[in-house]
Amino acid sequence: MAVCVAVITKENYPLYISNIPAANELKFHYTVHTSLDVVEEKLSAVGKTASDLRELYLGLLYPTEDYKVYGYVANTKVKFVIVIDSSNTSFRDNEIRSMFRKLHTAYTDVMCNPFYTPGDPIRSKTFDNVISSMMMQVC
């Protein structure tokens, strides 16, 4: 299950970061923030190379000794990052994919909330629920 889920704007500031345990919030912030390096690198490849990834899902960004960091960038350059405890190896790639899909959909709905101003930190119960379901979800 995911230990940290983050939504980051195209300007690279966080809209939403949730992590368990809440204690090492800072650590996760760093993990996510640094992962942006890889994301940007991968993105910059798009269009340049013939074999660029047109898929929104970027796959494994980089593994630290205790985490696996996965990335997904929507067409609107909104970045989603999911951190997974490397201890549970049971994760299939497509499971991660589906998680991202879920995340993206949830985000889209937030965007469609007329009372949400794009660019503001996300404060939405529905969204929270989706996230927590992803963090709880047993694999």
Binding site: V110, C112, N113, P114, F115, Y116, S124, K125
Partner: protein
Amino acid sequence: MLRTESTKINLMRPLGQPALACAGYRWRENYYSHQRRGGYNIGVRIIEDFLARTNVGRCHDFRETADVISKNAFKLYLGVTPTVTNWSPAGDEFSLQLDSNPLAEFVELPDNHTGLSYSSLLCGVLRGALEMVQMAVDVRIVQDTLQGDLQTELRLRFLRRIEESMPAGEE
């Protein structure tokens, strides 16, 4: 791909409006009344559109109207079929219950707008539309998912029939 979205899209449409409502209308009441007025204007026109699409004739009684509203109108425009319930014994009042309110599908009221009755647009529409078919009704929201209720419930009360009158200056 977009086909699948198409239902969603029409729901995106109202998106701009509350935004505007919030901008222009600080006070809940005003928002409310505005939405109703706006709704009314829409209703006045949409009824014609409705009749043109489904040439349902004039209804015999209020029950039939209720039926048409839920089975045809809501289905046609919002893709949902609310259940008609809670008839008053006199048969002049009933409720439309929507398990999911398409207008408010993505809406979450911010803290400073709790209690804003977002969907009052619908009331206006219904009032306007029915008035065009000679039915003066009063519509109000009694339950609203946005307010934390399990479902959205519109209450319609039949006031009177508007009789067609001979234009003035006729002998």
